[in-house]
Every structure is written in C-alpha cells, then in structure tokens.
C-alpha cells in the first residue's frame, strides 16, 4: 500500500497501525502538499508524544493480565456505544502499582 512518508511521524509506537493508511487514500492530494510540513504541524499541535509511552508500556505488559476486564458487562456495554452519552465514560480506578508494592 502507498504509505505517505510522514505517517511515520504520527506515532512512534506500534499503535500507528490503526489503519491510518486505509482511510487516508481519499485525501492523498492533500498529503503531497503538506508532506514536508507535516512533522512541524504535528509538533505545533502538541509537543507531547503519547505513542512512545504506549509502546514502552505494551512491551512490558504481561500477556493475559487484566483480560477479565474485557469480559465484563460494563466494558462490553461501554464499548458497544449503545448507551449513548449516558454510557460514554468508563472509569477504571485502582492504585498505580497495586499489588506490586507488596511484592518488594
């Protein structure tokens, strides 16, 4: 697939694969015009780069841990989007490092 060069700069983490390229083809003309400017524009929008952090975290994450959440009705219902704005927010709370602290 034709992958505009600047797409690499969108995300340094693996998540950039969320089909950016698929839906992009329709606006290829624009891409040619701003390809050079794109990284600068992205930095202007925000200097923060969340993709890198995600990449680090997912590398460290243990397979299978936390999968139970994905099976809960709360999660499924929220994800389905059927509840509209009333079910628009899923808040998961815990203590950062809960458990880990006690293993030292």
């Amino acid at each position: 697939m034709d992958r505009p060069e600047y797409l690499h700069s969108i995300n340094t983490g693996n998540v950039s694969s969320y089909n950016v390229t698929n839906s992009y083809n329709s606006t290829t003309n624009v891409s040619k015009v701003i390809a050079d400017e794109y990284p600068e524009i992205m930095r202007w929008l925000s200097p923060l780069d969340p993709g890198r952090r995600h990449h680090d975290v997912r590398t460290e994450r243990l397979d299978g841990v936390g999968n139970w959440l994905l099976e809960t009705n709360e999660f499924r219902e929220w994800k389905s989007g059927e509840g509209g704005a009333d079910k628009g927010v899923l808040f998961c709370y815990g203590n950062p490092g809960v458990g880990k602290t006690y293993l030292r």
């Binding site: 797409l7 969108i10 998540v15 694969s17 969320y18 089909n19 950016v20 698929n22 839906s23 992009y24 606006t27 624009v30 701003i34 400017e37 600068e40 524009i41 992205m42 202007w44 929008l45 925000s46 923060l48 780069d49 969340p50 993709g51 995600h54 975290v57 997912r58 994450r61 243990l62 299978g64 841990v65 936390g66 139970w68 959440l69 994905l70 709360e74 999660f75 219902e77 929220w78 994800k79 989007g81 509209g84 704005a85 009333d86 079910k87 628009g88 927010v89 899923l90 808040f91 998961c92 709370y93 815990g94 203590n95 950062p96 490092g97 809960v98 458990g99 880990k100 006690y102 293993l103």
Partner: protein, 209 residues
C-alpha cells in the same frame, strides 16, 4: 501487575486490534506526574487530536490554522477552545472514536478539570464517542463532577493475574541455584494469599478468585 497503566494499554490494544477493526479510531494519552508542567489540558487535547488528524480528515483545517498562526507571527499554538473545536470536527467524521486517558490524577488538578470539561463538551455533541479513563479512586470525584453518568469499574489484582506475574518473574530468575521446586511452590502459594490479606485489610480494592 495489573496496574492501571497495564489496564490502559490492554484496553487500547484490544480496541485497536479487536474484531471490529477498520471503523474504530483510538487516541490515547498517558498522564505522568513527572511531566505535570508540560501536560497542560491544551497540549493533551492537541496530542489526542494529532492521532486523529489524518483519519478525521481535518488535515486541511489544521494546516490552515497552522499557516494562520505562522502568518500572525510566532506560530503560537491553538487555544484550548479552538483545539477542542478542531478535535470535535475530527471525531465527527469518524464512525467510532475511543479516547483513552491513563492516570488522570497525575495531571495537575486544574488541567484534569479542563480536560474532562472539554471531553464532556465533545461527548454532548457526539454521544457515540467513547471515553476511557483510569486513575486513583479519588478521581471519581472529578469524573462525577463533570459527567452526570459514567460506568465505573474497580481494578483489583485478580489471583491469577498475580500468579501469572510471579511465574514470569520466577522464569526470569537468574540465580537458579537458590531456587527449588518447593520454594517455587511456596512463593506461588503464599504471595497471592498475602496480597489478598493486605488488600482486604487495607480495603484497597477487593480481590476475587
């Protein structure tokens, strides 16, 4: 082991790689107390927008705004309301958008409220978008201050999560001569029990089998 950050990363991956694939767009942000000063509400919304610019087909609008800022001198960044408006426009063009914010409590309080307020405005306009937030229990106050309703799930260390974590640590143990099958079995039995006790006593979060 499941820390909230693992949960965030898991949720993000499950949304990105899930069976509904193509029509889902996911944007994320990990708050970090070490970057509190840099992680302003405006820059967080900007970082979310960055991830949706191309798919949300607002490349042209963003470029125009950028050019305008440059022409007016200095190339100053967008203000929060403008950033939110641009993000709303991007989300409106996409069928299903998920925004995931990890560790909201690690943001400065004023930015937490600005961020939640911004997301609330977008959700009111686009009720099918989805927002995922993790944080310490006390963040619930901020959440319910901004959103009349929300789905709330406690993240508790499940026993098999703990066992899985321990097994991995044991498998990576470099001092094998100090380990024996009996010791290994003890570790895998006693530590999960002990964590359950501590959690129960301090009522941090319930532990389920």
């Amino acid at each position: 082991m499941p820390t909230t950050i693992d949960i965030s990363s898991l949720v993000i991956d499950s949304l990105c790689d899930g069976p509904c694939e193509g029509d889902i767009a996911v944007a994320m942000f990990y708050c970090d107390f070490r970057d509190q000063q840099q992680q302003t509400a405006t820059d967080i919304v900007g970082a979310i927008l960055k991830q949706l610019v191309v798919r949300g087909k607002v490349v042209e609008q963003v470029q125009t705004a950028f050019q305008k800022a440059k022409d007016e001198g200095g190339g100053r960044g967008l203000r929060l309301p403008d950033m939110v408006r641009m993000l709303t426009r991007a989300i409106a063009t996409l069928p299903r958008v998920f925004i995931c914010i990890d560790a909201l409590d690690e943001c400065l309080p004023k930015y937490q409220l600005e961020l939640l307020g911004s997301l609330k405005g977008i959700l009111e306009e686009l009720p099918s978008m989805r927002i995922f937030v993790t944080g310490r229990p006390q963040v619930e106050t901020e959440i319910s201050r901004c959103f009349a309703t929300s789905v709330i799930v406690p993240i508790s260390p499940k026993r098999n999560d703990i066992e899985r974590y321990l097994e991995k640590k044991l498998d990576m143990d470099t001092e094998l001569e100090a380990m024996s099958p009996a010791l290994r079995a003890d570790i895998l039995r006693i530590i999960p029990e002990r964590i359950s006790e501590v959690c129960a006593r301090e009522s941090i979060v319930p532990v389920h089998e």
